[in-house]
């Protein structure tokens, strides 16, 4: 729902990062991104410095959303795994819980089978983490009054014709 502000605290990201690191090590993949279905990047691990992760997150979420719609048209509730094969690099995507997508980018040093195996196990673990995030409803979202006021001042500086 649009009313819910999605908040992730530092210790939760640390837990998620630890899961991703173990997955990368086990599957010998290049990098992993955790993307919200809305297109926001939640966290990333591995060699992501050369990647435009913001754009990647938005496009991957879009790709997943259109695939879900295709699934519905052919009578499936959802395609839970998506795989893009390239010449050198490949992308494996799988769904995590209700609202996130685990994206693993890998090359020929490993195999799709290894990535699938470790990604599935990581997804199960992350689903539990997200469950606890969703259940924790009563935390302080942290946007203070002066945040909006300061943002207003910045807007006038940045957006000038």
């Amino acid at each position: 729902m649009s009313d819910d502000t999605f908040i992730i605290y530092e210790e939760e990201i640390a837990t998620i990062d630890a899961v991703l690191k173990r997955m990368l090590k086990g599957a010998e993949a290049k990098c992993a991104l955790l993307v919200d279905k809305d297109g926001h990047l939640i966290t990333r691990q591995g060699f992501t410095h050369s990647l435009d992760t913001t754009a990647l997150a938005a496009l991957l979420a879009g790709s997943f959303a259109s695939t879900r719609e295709i699934a519905r048209l052919v009578g499936e509730p959802e395609f839970s795994v998506l795989f893009h094969q390239g010449k050198k690099d490949h992308i494996h995507m799988c769904i995590v819980g209700e609202r996130s997508i685990l994206v693993v980018i890998f090359d020929d040093r490993t195999t799709i089978g290894m990535v699938r195996l470790y990604a599935r196990e990581a997804a199960e673990e992350l689903t539990r983490v997200f469950q606890s995030i969703v259940e924790r409803k009563d935390a302080d979202p942290g946007i203070s009054d002066d945040f909006t006021d300061k943002a207003r001042e910045k807007l006038d500086d940045i957006f000038q014709d």
């Binding site: 009313d3 530092e10 210790e11 173990r22 297109g39 939640i42 935390a139 302080d140 940045i158």
Partner: protein, 322 residues
Amino acid sequence: MVSINYSAREVCCKIVYYGPGLSGKTTNLQYIHSKVPTNTRGKLISLATEADRTLYFDFLPINIGTINGFQAKFQLYTVPGQVYYNATRKLVLRGVDGLVFVADSQADKMDENVESLANLQDNLVEYGYNLEELPLVLQYNKRDLPGVLTLDELNARLNPRGVPSFEASATLGKGVFDTLKLIIKLVLDRAKSSSATAVARRQRAAEPGAERVAAYPHPIRRPEQPAAAAAAVATAVAPEADTAARPYPGTDTTRFRKPATSSLAGSSAGELPAESLGRSITPAISSVDPADSRLAPQMAPSLRRRGDTRKRGFFKRVFGIK
């Protein structure tokens, strides 16, 4: 929904430009992209057809900088306006925080505007959103064209609720930033008000929730936090430590693992096991005799030429040829 990431210190909001086909949604983003400083914006991504009509969405990330220690990020999306792209148009609305409805001010486009607004309402309902609750700004575009409808006429048909509206000409850039600034303000105001309700809910809630927040004091989130609470951190991380200590599924077995010998050596030599590689290569290397004349470096061309001249001198000497 507004996404707040305390680890990356980010607040992320999604703003969608909606409207009928050819009303100027992509032009709005292109103008913003061209005028905003490069350190503020990311790359403009357009998933468009060959005729430059939006097929899926355009995407422009904007980062207005650090506020109270948090990066305020906004992701601007447009939708494909054509009627038959409704399936993809609906997908872009997922998780929207604020809407800009770009209407075409020309008289013959009014029906398309009305249809698109109704379509927006329908698509939002499918996600469980209510257009009346979402921040919305109307932009009456193409005001520079002759024979456009007056503001009163446009408001009467499109804006019965009286939401904020702007006159604009996206190609000239008029009204584009006014629209953007207002929608960002409305989105942040809404995030603030939803934060106020969340705080109220927390105060009403039982104590365990409050304890949990206190266990992880955050300098930005809780400026009023007493310093003594910081001491609680060390004891509070115990549950995570337990999770970390648990062996990761699969790591304790060798069933699915590749052979432990260096996978790099294996892959570079056509998947041969490392031992057989060693055996086949070593004899070949040991049979090479460094004194073998065939392997000695060849004479440089200049030396060979010098040898030839010496030979010529020998014939001169013996046969007296001059």
